[in-house]
Point group: C2
Amino acid sequence: MINVIKVGGAVVEDPSSLDILLDAFVKVEGPKALVHGGGRSATKLAEQLGIESRMVGGRRITDADTLRIVTMVYAGLVNKNIVAQLQCLGCNALGLTGADLNLIRAHRRPITPEGIDFGFVGDVDAADGSRLLDLMSAGIIPVIAPLTHDGAGSLLNTNADTIAQTVASAIANSAVNTPVTLTYCFELPGVMGDPSDDSTLIPRLNEPMFRRLVADGTIAGGMIPKLENAFRALRSGIQKVRITNIRNLEGGTEITECSLE
Amino acid sequence: MINVIKVGGAVVEDPSSLDILLDAFVKVEGPKALVHGGGRSATKLAEQLGIESRMVGGRRITDADTLRIVTMVYAGLVNKNIVAQLQCLGCNALGLTGADLNLIRAHRRPITPEGIDFGFVGDVDAADGSRLLDLMSAGIIPVIAPLTHDGAGSLLNTNADTIAQTVASAIANSAVNTPVTLTYCFELPGVMGDPSDDSTLIPRLNEPMFRRLVADGTIAGGMIPKLENAFRALRSGIQKVRITNIRNLEGGTEITECSLE
């Protein structure tokens, strides 16, 4: 089993949460990679520099100044601190963006029909799963920041959930006979019937159930694109997708194909 | 021949100089690595954030806030932009700090006898030349930011000239039958008798000549530690050391051992 684990900004930007995550992460057996966010730190640095953070549909509008900020925060501050801490825990971590080793190519998102220009935001074209497998076979643990590149010299800002799905799919399509699990960590124990009641954890979720729970309002907000990504991941060759939190990397909600219902 | 080329902040922070460097760098044949600085951008970001930059003997006093800044600027902004541009030029670049792959271990510099605490400044203990050789053998071009780690979870700020020398020595000591050239790029054509007169370029310099030129004031300022590093490099197994500028990577001043005078 190869594990690709994605954690958001709220985890990596809080030292005690990060400690819990990294302790759990080092215990995961077999080849593994970590994909992280860092949006809150980026927003904070932008504020300190007097640069306005503009979000549309959960995505950051990324002008040249904002690209500098996310490059500093994601590839520098967040990524390298995780790498240094994993090294301390005996994991041979290697911090990466999509530009390093040409791992993840993307193109600038076109201006939307509504006229929104996301700027230096990248939609992924291809990820090099074979290279990531080679690194993992050599005992190296990729730690991936949510940045891609366009092959023409520019970095691009790409959503970390999308990076995790792309990377896990690319690995799954390169790995022969080794299944890939993609795990999304967030604040709650998993997908919940009622976020305030832990006993309402939904242990397994397939796409028809998901559509019903969106229709009746049980699943809403940021959870929707997260689950859309999860189902896309299942359709792209990843064997198992999980939504959980850092205290329970093996638990939470398992996202399944319909045939497994 | 393996080439390790070091460029300072003045080059990597000016887009047109960086273009000249990268065009010259991609033409260098054989395995190669790039080590870069970025101090001016760090000072500028510190200013924007209202954090005072304090330098002692050319070295930055690095408190926790300053460590965050240099991590963002060196490992993020400067490093990843170079990587993206090298990828555009067909070089399979990989951005690294000393924490990545445990490449460069260091320890915090002790408080000096004069009572100066440099904070999170690292003095290098060991670099993994064998790993760097493996990367270069696989066609990968390491791009190294001037940060190390202490193995206990903390990044450390380490002078880029020292990083270049350490990395080149470690490669030289791991490479069998392949000589290593270490090239320091800076603003002038090389070591000059008179910095304002290009015809006074000193094409070859050994240590006794260096001591005489320091004593008579011809060589002064920041050039002294640069040349100290160069002679240390020659004593540490590196076959050739060169001081030149980005327009002439094969020219400039060749630093030689006494026996070659």
